[in-house]
Subunit: 649 residues, 2 copies
């Protein structure tokens, strides 16, 4: 897509954005504050800007008089970028001139690591677990009565120099008729062994030459969302993908409540059934959308956390939540998809990602595989942040992992106006440090109704950097604004006044909300510290961070460092790898090298139970500040804070 | 059971019989003819004998006057042996004195080969495919979070020096709860590999120590009858057995009509379902009768002919009956019993006997294993006689086999009064060579209504030896008896007159019946000749005959040689091995040695298609006589016939 350059005045700051972006988001990207209360819906009329040079589309509104429009005024939130443009923030809504010289916190989103199929091929990592072979068999005759299976196996052995071929029973059931559909010209699907001394097994036969139709499915079973991809095993391309909420949500938001439900009566069967129905719905969608022959699917690879995996497999998860927290298994054998009630052809093999422990599951192992962490020389921290945050540190030589119970703050839990990342959630925020007026941007650019997880981080970080809250997470009660107030003995900041919300109340951030966020980020940060300490290292030794999971994609890295969720590190050392679990599942679906390596990686991943590690509590307590008791762990932030304080004096 | 000695006069012939046997059956056994028309029901009153010494139970009848009784007359068919006794056949019902000196054809039933478990053990052949191992696992603790499967496998590996253990998925499903039922004391069932380099797999876990409860099931799926045995894998004992008619009978008597039915609409599913229901009924019966814990069953081994096997497995048998007669497979993989709809626990593995060709199936392979034919040095002929007769010749070095289409004569088909071996069927027969009066014995000792297969052989043999029919199978029309007569242009012998039957007609044997029998026995005999010729041998080279199948147990060997069904051989060289298919299934269920050997044996069994062997037709035509064109193949019979002819002159 085309990009255009926006110059903001009087800040004299430029930013390059894609065509169609709104001016207000361009300003946020540039670190330019514009007062804006209504989330971008255009109703508060506060985000008035003047187009000095160039043109924008839209931006006119009843909130602007004809004279204003004539003068070049536009509402920033309703203006779309169509070309290079110079924008002036008018005095009445601009920050005080004195702060113009303070460099803004650089806005940084993590570099997205693209899935590199060619690299996989180059490294000899593209060895499909399922291979299709076309065979033109000699037809039986009075002189040649070979049984059908014997004919198939002998010919295949001869043609491909195979040995020790197995044949699955359903293939025998199909074979007599399939052979005779196209004069003994058939395509056999061979499941290749993971171990070199293993046996190849014929899992399907199809009439004629169908070698060009060889597909696999990769699935990430998330506690909240299930993702599926249909993969072409010839090209490696993703032919279709689909996400849907995990049907288990109605039986509990988190893994613990799901386990509790599974323990009651027919609960386990019920939870199995609903997640299978979610997966089946996704399967039907991606098969239809890709327009492929369903019978061409050979395998499905699934990754999920330990609880999701056991519920999907109908393996009682009861002991996951009871000390000493023992999962049923690490490595699961290949299982026929139909035996798991998946709506796939009989021959399809389901491959389930192995687990490390009760709280470091297949999704994390898949992430370690998908990110390539297990092959790098650099000391890397892998984080998947959610209600349960999983962390892995290590490199190609060793791997240690742990799970932290962060609590639900990042998903809006325990936050008065917390909500999921949905329409109307404040996702981005800036504050005028002089007037304390906010700039709220919501998902969908509609009037706010709450705060999502990434929004919460952005708000707290901005308030902290602006000095509105101190490093204990308490409001600076003396600031000259009515947005900071006490209600029922609790101090809060009014983000949006009732009139500009979708709801019948002010949307606020309270000190209790901040405290919950600090606890959540403190658990994760101190988890990393503890894990590193257990292997004789410190946070400063880290070379790289991989950020995985849906949450990671929305988090502003800088802001996450400001609150002390992420260790401070140069932006190009942090890689956002998206749904690493799905990526790992896809890689396993495409190559047996990964399937072989994953067994070794799973064995190698040393699990630490933080609750049983004495130093964890010390680290945790020390991290219950913004960003941390020890500000030397965050030198760049410290420099900025020092600069601002010097200015303010 | 106690045996007693019966002396028959004036023949001066003794026989030892079990207490309770009837005098008339003792006479038949001794080769002593007593006129008897009514099959043994006591209504014709012809079988009057005088008890000269000793006592019998019963035998008094309205047919005897008080004076007769006083003189010691009894009806032989109603008299039970209770002690040693001397019996005189009165002149009016005895054969002419001149024939008393002709030695009767010795009555010989084949020596039954008992299943020898100790021999199996001695030879190292008792290696159960399913082994149970008790484990007292250490319980998990804060210092030991091993996943349940890992705990089980590591401990088992250590305790038993196992390596490369597999774990079936259903075991993982059961494991968490099973481990905690009895403080981590569990019994694992291991499926041992057939190949030495194979992998042992854990297929079940049970709480506590259940090692003493390890069972298997062996099943013979016959076209007519299904047999099942429940086996204790610790002792090798058969705990219960049961037979039942194959539910498929209502869809066709023979394999061809079953295949025809299977080809129509839902026929294959229907035939699968009904035979499975038959097996399930047997399973329920034997499990209940043995009073065992159903969960202690580890495996079920099944043997059947190729069509029965494919129908049971729901593998389309269509191509079995179409040239070039190709079966689906020889060796079938192990299949979970539940996947075949068998009413057994989820973990039970079904092992299906391999097939050689479309008409030499798993029942015959099982027979070769069960009889030990594949381990003997002697040149052995194995025969399973039925509508389709299968023959195997060979020894431990080589094996050749073929199937002959004998037609349904042995099962009563194509015989005017032919019937299955059921109550009222004439099963044994003798004839007075002077008066041509018959001695008919029926199954159940009731009035005759037809002739069963073994009866047919006995009748034709007796008529031939007595000179009532010639070696073309035609009646001697000049004999002075009204029992030989012409009806609608066909000559026949009246076995039973209407008044003494259960039906409203005379029971007769026609020349057409004889012709059909000759064709049937000719196909089998010439099949043996052809098969031997193909491997460069002749009938005379045979050292031993194994006779298998239900039919074999009732056939009088001597009579079968008289008509030329069996090659002539000393009685102790012929072994009746009963249901060899069931015996083979049982052996496979008990020892992996047999399971390993059977793969090799199946490969070794060279199948000959008789219809494509040019010499078969010549041999067949030459065998369409009683016993054969070439009487030198039957030297003992020839000697007897020569002696009779000399007498008669």
């Amino acid at each position: 897509m085309k990009t255009h350059t926006i110059l903001f005045q009087p800040q004299n700051r430029t930013v390059a954005v894609e065509a169609g972006e709104s001016l207000i988001r361009a300003a946020m990207e540039a670190g330019v504050h514009i007062n804006a209360s209504c989330g971008g819906e255009g109703v508060c009329g506060k985000c008035r800007v003047i187009i000095e040079k160039g043109e924008v589309a839209g931006g006119v509104s009843e909130r602007l008089t004809p004279e204003d429009r004539e003068k070049g005024y536009r509402l920033a939130c309703r203006s779309s970028v169509t070309g290079d443009v110079t924008v002036r923030i008018p005095v009445e809504s601009a920050i005080d001139a004195s702060v113009l010289n303070i460099p803004p916190a650089p806005r940084r989103t993590a570099r997205v690591k693209a899935f590199n199929l060619e690299e996989l091929k180059d490294k000899g990592l593209f060895i499909p677990p399922m291979e299709k072979v076309f065979l033109a068999l000699p037809e039986p005759s009075a002189q040649d009565h070979l049984p059908d299976v014997t004919r198939l196996v002998s010919f295949l052995t001869l043609q491909n120099d195979e040995h020790r071929l197995g044949v699955e029973f359903p293939v025998i059931r199909k074979l007599p008729d399939t052979l005779r559909q196209d004069r003994f010209r058939v395509t056999a699907t061979l499941a290749r062994p993971v171990r070199e001394d293993g046996q190849s097994v014929i899992i399907n036969v199809q009439a004629g030459d169908t070698t060009s139709r060889n597909y696999a499915v990769a699935v990430d079973i998330g506690t909240t969302t299930v993702y599926g991809q249909l993969i072409d095993l010839i090209s490696g391309a993703v032919l279709a993908e689909q996400a849907d909420f995990n049907g288990q949500i109605s039986y509990g938001e988190d893994v613990i409540s799901r386990i509790v439900f599974a323990e009651k009566g027919d609960g386990l069967n019920r939870l199995h059934d609903v997640v299978v129905e979610t997966i089946n719905k996704i399967l039907r969608t991606i098969i239809k959308r890709a327009g492929i022959d369903r019978d061409g699917i050979s395998s499905i690879t699934l990754a999920g956390n330990t609880t999701m995996t056991q519920l999907f497999l109908k393996v009682n998860p009861r002991y996951i939540r009871r000390a000493p927290y023992v999962p049923a298994a690490t490595i699961y054998p290949a299982i026929k998809a139909v035996n798991l009630d998946l709506d796939l052809p009989d021959h399809v093999t389901a491959l389930v990602y192995p687990q490390v422990s009760s709280y470091v599951g297949g999704d994390i192992v898949a992430g370690v595989m998908g990110s390539g962490l297990y092959r790098t020389e650099e000391l890397t921290l892998f984080m998947d942040i959610g209600t349960n945050a999983e962390i892995v540190v290590g490199n190609r030589d060793w791997l240690a992992c742990a799970a932290c119970s962060a609590g639900p703050a990042f998903e809006g839990g325990g936050i008065e106006f917390g909500m999921r990342a949905a329409k109307g959630a404040i996702e981005d925020f800036s504050i005028d440090p002089v007037t304390c007026e906010p700039m709220n941007l919501t998902i969908g650019n509609v009037r706010p109704k709450g705060i999502c997880g990434s929004g919460l981080i952005n708000i707290v970080a901005a308030l902290f950097e602006a000095g509105v809250i101190n490093n204990n997470g308490k409001f600076e009660q003396t600031l000259p604004t009515d947005r900071i107030r006490e209600r029922d003995g609790v101090w809060e900041y009014v983000l949006v006044r009732q009139a500009e919300t979708q709801i019948d109340r002010d949307v606020v951030l309270t000190e209790i909300d901040i405290e919950n966020l600090i606890r959540a980020k403190g658990a994760i940060y101190s988890g990393c510290q503890t894990l590193l300490e257990e292997v004789g290292l410190t946070i400063q030794d880290l070379d790289r961070i991989y950020l995985a999971g849906g949450f990671g994609s929305y988090v502003d890295l800088e802001r996450a460092m400001v609150i002390g969720l992420l260790p401070e590190m140069a932006a190009d050392k942090i890689t956002y790898i998206g749904n690493a679990s799905l990526m790992g599942a896809r890689m396993s679906a495409m190559t047996n090298r990964i399937r072989r390596d994953v067994v070794e990686v799973t064995r190698k991943m040393t699990n630490f139970e933080l609750s049983e590690t004495p130093s964890f509590m010390d680290h945790y307590v020390a991290s219950l500040f913004l960003p941390h008791t020890d500000l030397h762990l965050f030198p760049m932030l410290k420099a900025r804070l020092d600069a601002r304080r010097a200015m303010a004096r």
